[in-house]
Symmetry: C2
Subunit: 307 residues, 2 copies
């Protein structure tokens, strides 16, 4: 049931569609949430919309309570038209997700990339508050990132900004690295959650155990952790000299284990580039994207025109 | 003398202050220039201002002809306050250049970094026309760069955005690279004009001759050119996946010799990252910064408030 606190307030709905799970958050303009509901993501969009509708209906939220819906997807999105260009994990290609949402919810719908929304969420309620120049790196299965410059998300010419999973080094090329189809980029092959899983497995651990062993002083895992710190620090250093953010926020599943190495990364980045930045972990964790969806609604609605 | 064409037009004054030369351009809002005058840069600011005043006076331009002045400096600038944070080549530190200009020219004065202004110039009259997401890399003595995202220059939290001379790779660190004081960054040590000069010298050439020899099929210079292409292509590829610009413009002194290798760079970048971009050479060359200063005036003046 909708809580009394927010019962008289109008709500933004934030929906973070992931490859396996979808998080629905309904919150007011102060960030007070009245729903947080996690669903399994069906790959069929109609089924997903049906499930979301059920969640809202069952909580007594009516269309007139909803100011708008902000939806994040793990792929490229034309945020102007609502066209989802590609979401590899759900095999979505060239689908106008805004139109699909519109047919279920006759409210203003705003679609964007999930990592962009995570950064918007962190800037609203998390560790990016009051900053106009921010960088968010999501280290999960792959590696994604998002940029806020001059207070605005940088989406890029073809909505591909932030794709630092493709960061390369000369030695990658010398070692025969090639981009092929939908495979991971060079940085992802070295430092993503998937790469960590592979490296941890060789030692008999999963990534979470790997960090636990490191914390407990197991020297056997040190090289893997040190190489991960090295890769991430170099990537962040390069971002810092290009876009000079006040704060770098590290999010994504792997970040939940990273507090033990955060100072090392901060020190290395300071050693590599003479431009100051502050490196922090995500505050909102897995809720950043959905809260970002809510924030996105409140950002967009003043300029919203039906169309 | 001021040409008849523009005699009745109001002018923006663009001033590109370089370590050795300063270019003064006066032009109308259509980019028609009535002055282009190159001066030696004195390190004493009063002397520089005196010289600029003489140039304008001798051409019959009065204060009332001037809408404003856009001034580029080769260093970090707080564009809001006009404070020049540092210009190593002129040994300027913490000087409010806007105030200094104000004491000579009682007109609106806008100060920014020279590379940022070069990109604004290229977007106005050069090879960046009609694009909202642009990257400009200036390869001269050092390597600098500028970003326009969503139609706006990205200056960064401490006006240090674009400092890709500091781009590093893991192998740089393994090879003992350290940042020390005002020295060149890792990418600059490999691929700047200074680095090319060093490498060319070993073969008995200067950089311009190096490219000429390459064009003439002298195999002896091939490795140096190929390594330069490699370094610049990797740097651009990393920029492209982070900020996804429509167009990358290569400027700076070295770019004047680079037409022979432009296609190679374009091909390599396409090979390294699966995000399309168009790579071109600067159209305005050494005049980009001063024309950018003029453009900056016309951009800024509608929102200008005395203060």
């Amino acid at each position: 049931m909708i809580s009394k606190l927010a019962a008289d307030r109008r709500l933004g709905i934030g929906i973070d569609i992931g490859g396996t799970k979808t998080l629905v958050i309904a919150a007011d303009c102060g960030g007070r949430s009245v729903i947080k509901k996690r669903l399994k993501t069906p790959s069929e969009i109609g089924e997903l919309l049906e499930k979301i509708k059920l969640v809202l209906d069952s909580t007594g939220i009516t269309q007139s309570d909803i100011i708008g819906m902000g939806v994040g997807v793990p792929g490229r999105v034309n945020s102007k038209s609502g066209l989802v260009i590609d979401v590899p994990s759900l095999k979505w290609n060239n689908i106008n997700l805004r139109d699909q949402f519109k047919s279920y919810f006759n409210r203003p719908i705003f679609i964007n990339n999930d990592v962009n929304l995570s950064l918007i969420g962190e800037r609203w309620l998390g560790n990016g508050k009051s900053y106009d120049n921010l960088f968010y790196i999501a280290i999960g299965t792959g590696i994604g990132s998002a940029i806020i410059a001059n207070g605005t998300v940088v989406e890029g010419a073809s909505y591909s900004a932030g794709e630092i999973g493709y960061f390369i080094e000369k030695e990658d090329i010398r070692n025969g690295y090639k981009i092929a189809g939908l495979e991971f980029g060079a940085l992802e092959r070295k430092a993503s959650g998937s790469a960590l899983t592979d490296n941890a497995q060789k030692l008999g651990f999963n990534p979470r155990e790997l960090f636990r062993e490191y914390r407990n002083g197991n020297r056997g895992v040190t090289p893997v952790i040190e190489e991960f710190v090295f890769d991430i620090s170099v990537a962040i250093a390069n971002v810092v000299c290009l876009i000079n953010p006040e704060v770098v926020i590290i999010g994504g599943g792997v970040s939940e284990s990273m507090s033990i190495i955060l100072n090392q990364i901060q020190d290395k980045v300071a050693e590599y580039v003479p431009i100051a930045t502050k490196i922090v972990l995500s505050k909102l964790g897995g809720e950043a994207g959905a809260f970002g969806g809510v924030a996105y609604v409140f950002q967009k609605i003043p300029n919203y025109m039906e169309g």
